[in-house]
Symmetry: C2
Subunit: 171 residues, 2 copies
Amino acid sequence: MDKRTAILDAAERRARQGGYHGFSFRDVASDVGIKSASVHYHFPTKEDLGEALAERYIKNILAALGEADQLEPVAAFDRMADLFLKSHEIDDLMCLCGVFGAEAAILPDAVRIPVDRFFRELIAWLASSFGDVKEAELAVATLEGGLIISRAGKQGDFLRNLVKNWRSRYV
Amino acid sequence: MDKRTAILDAAERRARQGGYHGFSFRDVASDVGIKSASVHYHFPTKEDLGEALAERYIKNILAALGEADQLEPVAAFDRMADLFLKSHEIDDLMCLCGVFGAEAAILPDAVRIPVDRFFRELIAWLASSFGDVKEAELAVATLEGGLIISRAGKQGDFLRNLVKNWRSRYV
DNA sequence: TTTATTCAACCTATCGATAGGTAGGCATAT
DNA sequence: ATATGCCTACCTATCGATAGGTTGAATAAA
């Protein structure tokens, strides 16, 4: 596989576990099977790597969501919720922009700004199906917060129940 | 002021900006005006410090909330929401357990377990007023997620609007 | 067709800075 | 005199980052 992609994959996994300061060039290099200097070849600084991670993550999530304006509100919510549930229950990883967002105060702007955009895009996507921005904001916040709470309690069906409750009440 | 308390204050502030791996003994020592060795005197390991931070944070938040079972649902939600809003708009800090929760995968269990308890306590507190656990879970998740989203977009009234929307719809 | 050149993609080795952590000294207060 | 609280001084490990060398494949020149 393309080494640059392998680096991004490994870095994303590490970052989604420990955040921006929770992984190192050496961690990533070791995962990929190369030296840290070779990671610097592809991403000169950590800021570069973080920015690339955030940009790719946005692209992947939006691609996984597809088009929203044809979907019924329930279907749109389910599709987004499934991404969060998969992240939690299958990959056992945080949302990249969720961790980064929590560390926003010490994040380089080049990384923070894409993270900010991520949430705007999620909300816009959901709003285009809901026809209601405020409802979309509440949904995204709930999913992001629910993911964190669920992960704090190591083994957890918290998020799954939360999603179920949301569906049964508000959509 | 008591140095131990000053250490906890400085460490909490740093941790709520950058997470568990986003601050160092030297950072904290420098903030307090002592040497890092003196921080180790009070908290031998970082795990000890992190655990103390989480425990104190829980205690402080619960104290600020007071008793819930006498409160109307709207008043209870407002009181909790105000804590999140103050954290964001006045102190410009994350919720400690929010950042820590996002990093749960690389957090020592001695730190993660209190963080987990924090969310259970918040939910129980709100549920004792709501008379409904599921509604309380949704509210806490929304506040935590909303805080993150609001902080990612540096200058932000996102959380304030989110809280307003919640109140006008669901309480 | 062979030779020379360039380039991407790694490597080894190292930098200064900083991480968490420790040992032992020196006051002050009990 | 004993314990407390802080200090200087230091340790090992690792951080992000850089310098300079090696490789092999593509490209251009002979």
